[in-house]
């Protein structure tokens, strides 16, 4: 998946598991940028009685690098606190939850938002902001959209925040991708290891359909994020580009204290999860590096560049699809570094490669979601982002509907290598390879307003995800 359960250790700690990062110029408020960080993956909507929530013991952060050094210049921190009204019932709610302060809601969660800058200055933007409940069903949460709307907090100055459950917006055919990289639309071309199990091509199946996720969404003026508060329209101005990543951290020591009948944690927070470009830790980094990568900051990502330069998936494709990727095979065997992927994922794309576009942040190699904030939203966006000729889409930031699986798969297959080597001709399949899943596979639509991800699936109406 994008980054759901992408590393061995974090797969056992879903509350702290960063699953997706989105960063885009808000289509309905183009003077602002929306940042979205998702956690707690693959929530079956009916998962009661202890429905999903953020971790009170987890520090959630959204980092912004606007100087290109791989270190945060602006950080938003989110701290959660859970309150139980009545510990003498097992129920999440004892009646319909009609408002965020409903006495029927037994287990509420609140959070604070703090902004830190590179000088260490902190500013609390909000405190005790309520999360909405999970979407349980027509009896418990009869008007869920209203509840969720009430949980959007205006922070002043065009800033807004939301934290709570949303419908999973990321779509992927997991079952096919992780069955030895066998996308159903291309199953007839797959080598199948001689098994010939499924020789027929077919449509993709969205494995994340009907699941929910927990979202932290923040919308702020562009100038809050850019270097020197830049809010101009010059696409080539380096101050227009920001690099975004999210993280989750836990305190270093955790104690299951039988004497106090409590669990407590102490010590400094240590990062256990991070995410910027989708699939980076999932399919670029090898298994032996994944847990370590999750503890690191982007500033040190040069040590992972060799995995980008020679990605394992690119090495596998010619063998898995015999005769389909001959030019990629030659490129692989040439040993040439994948300068296209190094740019897309680690430095940003310099000016001059794509007309009217750049999101280059300098020579420091850092996995960041780079967004050129001077590029306005597209009226008719393409889910294929830059590959679809849409400069406002991934890998220029990422919108909720961007087909990052197809974009990255095609890039890895060689579709973008011609940007850095005019003598290279991508295989025709490189522009087509796909898992066959699009936003059309989702039953719940995205919103055209903040927080953009759809109303979460109801437990009652989605009893089996």
């Amino acid at each position: 998946m994008s980054s759901h359960r992408e590393a061995p250790e974090i797969s056992k700690d879903p509350v702290a598991d960063s699953t997706d990062v989105y960063a885009f110029v808000s289509p309905d408020k183009p003077d602002t940028v929306t940042l979205i960080a998702n956690y707690v993956p693959l929530q079956a909507p009916a998962g009661g009685p202890n429905f999903y929530e953020f971790g009170d013991d987890v520090l959630y952060e959204i980092h912004i690098d606007n100087t290109g050094d791989g270190n945060p210049d602006v950080t938003y921190q989110f701290w959660f606190t859970t309150e139980v009204r009545n510990p003498n019932t097992f129920l999440y709610n004892t009646g319909p939850i009609l408002t965020l302060d409903s006495p029927n809601w037994n287990r509420r969660q609140f959070y604070s938002v703090t902004r830190k800058d590179a000088r260490g200055r902190t500013q609390q933007l909000a405190k005790r902001v309520p999360c909405p409940p999970c979407n349980i069903g027509p009896l418990s949460t009869p008007n869920y959209p209203k509840l969720a709307d009430a949980a959007v907090r205006d922070l002043g100055g065009g800033r807004r925040v939301f934290a709570g459950q949303r419908a999973e917006g990321f779509y992927v055919d997991l079952g096919a991708v992780f069955d030895l990289l066998d996308p159903r639309p291309f199953a007839d071309a797959h080598e199948h290891f001689g098994l010939k199990k499924f020789p027929q091509a077919g449509p993709g199946v969205n494995a994340t359909k009907n699941f929910n996720v927990h979202t932290i969404a923040l919308q702020v003026p562009r100038a809050d994020l850019t270097r020197e508060g830049y809010k101009g329209k010059d696409v080539n101005d380096p101050r227009a580009v920001i690099g975004v990543w999210t993280a989750a951290s836990r305190q270093r020591v955790r104690m299951l204290d039988t004497e106090l009948n409590n669990t407590w944690a102490t010590g400094p927070y240590r990062q256990v999860s991070r995410l910027a470009n989708p699939l980076f830790n999932e399919v670029i980094n090898p298994m032996g590096q994944k847990d370590f990568w999750n503890t690191q900051t982007p500033a040190g990502d040069a040590r992972f560049a060799k995995f980008v330069s020679k990605p394992e998936v690119a090495q596998l494709l010619p063998g898995l699809f015999p005769g389909v990727f001959p030019n990629l095979d030659v490129l692989n065997k040439s040993g040439k570094p994948r300068a296209d992927l190094l740019a897309i994922l680690l430095t940003g794309i310099p000016a001059g490669l794509i007309p009217g576009f750049q999101n280059f942040t300098g020579q420091t190699q850092a996995d960041e979601m780079r967004l050129n904030t001077a590029i306005p939203p597209t009226g008719k966006p393409s889910i294929y982002g830059l590959l679809g000729g849409d400069l406002a889409g991934f890998p220029n930031g990422r919108r909720v509907f961007d087909d990052v699986v197809a974009i990255e798969l095609r890039a890895i297959a060689g579709a973008t290598y011609a940007l850095v080597d005019k003598n290279y001709t991508p295989d025709p399949a490189a522009a087509q390879v796909d898992d066959g899943v699009t936003p059309d596979s989702l039953d719940i639509p995205y919103l055209n307003r903040f927080p953009y991800l759809g109303v979460p699936n109801s437990g009652f109406f989605t009893p089996s995800a």
């Binding site: 305190q251 270093r252 020591v253 104690m255 299951l256 204290d257 039988t258 106090l260 407590w264 102490t266 010590g267 400094p268 927070y269």
Partner: protein, 100 residues
Amino acid sequence: MLHEQQPAPAPEPGTVSRRKLIITGASLAAAGVAVGAVASIPFTANENADASAAAGDDPKKPVMVYLRPGGKFDVFVGQDRVQLTDHAFAARLTDAVKAL
């Protein structure tokens, strides 16, 4: 695997309560020893007076001490960590563990 020891009589001054010990690995030298909320840890005032007070006074702000090889301690309290070296205390801990 964490293994918590059974309750034992109160320690003598300057010793370590067995029941406060958590062995975090089969080899003390390799894995170190973590000590939870030990009010009797012989901190000197100038090493970490705040941590010592917190250990005894505030159960919501417990102190965790982790013994590394070489007599080095990581002391965790709140969101902070301090490091110190105390070979004598490390030796007492080692002896206590060996006696288990």
